[in-house]
Amino acid sequence: MEIAGTRFGTVHFDEQRTITLPGGLIGFSQERRFILLEPPPGGIVAALQSLTTPELAFPIVAGVAFGDDYPSPDARELGRRAQLLRTPEDKLAVFVVVAAQKPSGRIANLLAPIVINIDTRTGAQIVLDPDVYSAATPFEMRRTETSTAPRPRAETVTATHPET
């Protein structure tokens, strides 16, 4: 399959790998079908590309980049609460929506990570404790210069822990 008109041009994808967020994203409740696009070479920012609105893509970074203790509660507990787990063995991935903030910074929405069951390709944006996490947490990002197969790695990001 392919989707044209995205900010990345025409994107080819395997329909079997479509990700469904039945509840949509918060503020974007009609956006329920997505594909994951890989980070650019040397980068860590992947994209959650809407299949409903081609021009709509959400930059995301793997949750592991924000530390071993993120998120709290852990992904499995979040998956259980959101009823994402089909079996206890299902694998979950956590992503954080990030945005550029002028003039040169970035903010991460640590308050509401996207948790995806990799096995069922189903996920949800789950809201954590607003007294612990912020929707606009500043963070710094260093590009990996030598990686030829970039993947989000903890050492590529210095995340400012949320204000308490």
């Binding site: 503020g27 890989e38 650019p40 893509a57 308050l111 929707a135």
Partner: protein
């Protein structure tokens, strides 16, 4: 918008198994008790709005963020 007058202890029942009861009314505000099925998300309005704004900011910033780039992307497997 639907407006319903309720007294303390009275409920509103919504489809999907959602019930909202007025638990108390004080000078500081109204305390609501909510009964919702598993899987239903309940957020304070300001929390919802902050997350929606963060999502919108992310979507609109992607095109101008060099860390995101608009180069062609392959599906992430």
């Amino acid at each position: 918008m639907l407006i319903i007058q309720r007294r303390v202890g009275e409920r509103i029942v919504m489809s999907g198994g959602i019930e909202i009861t007025v638990a108390a009314v004080t000078k500081r505000g109204v305390r609501l008790a909510l009964r919702v099925p598993d899987g239903i998300t309940v957020l304070r309005g300001e929390v919802h709005d902050a997350i929606a704004a963060a999502n919108a900011a992310a979507a609109s910033s992607a095109a101008e963020d060099p860390g995101v780039s608009t180069d062609a992307r392959a599906e992430w497997r």
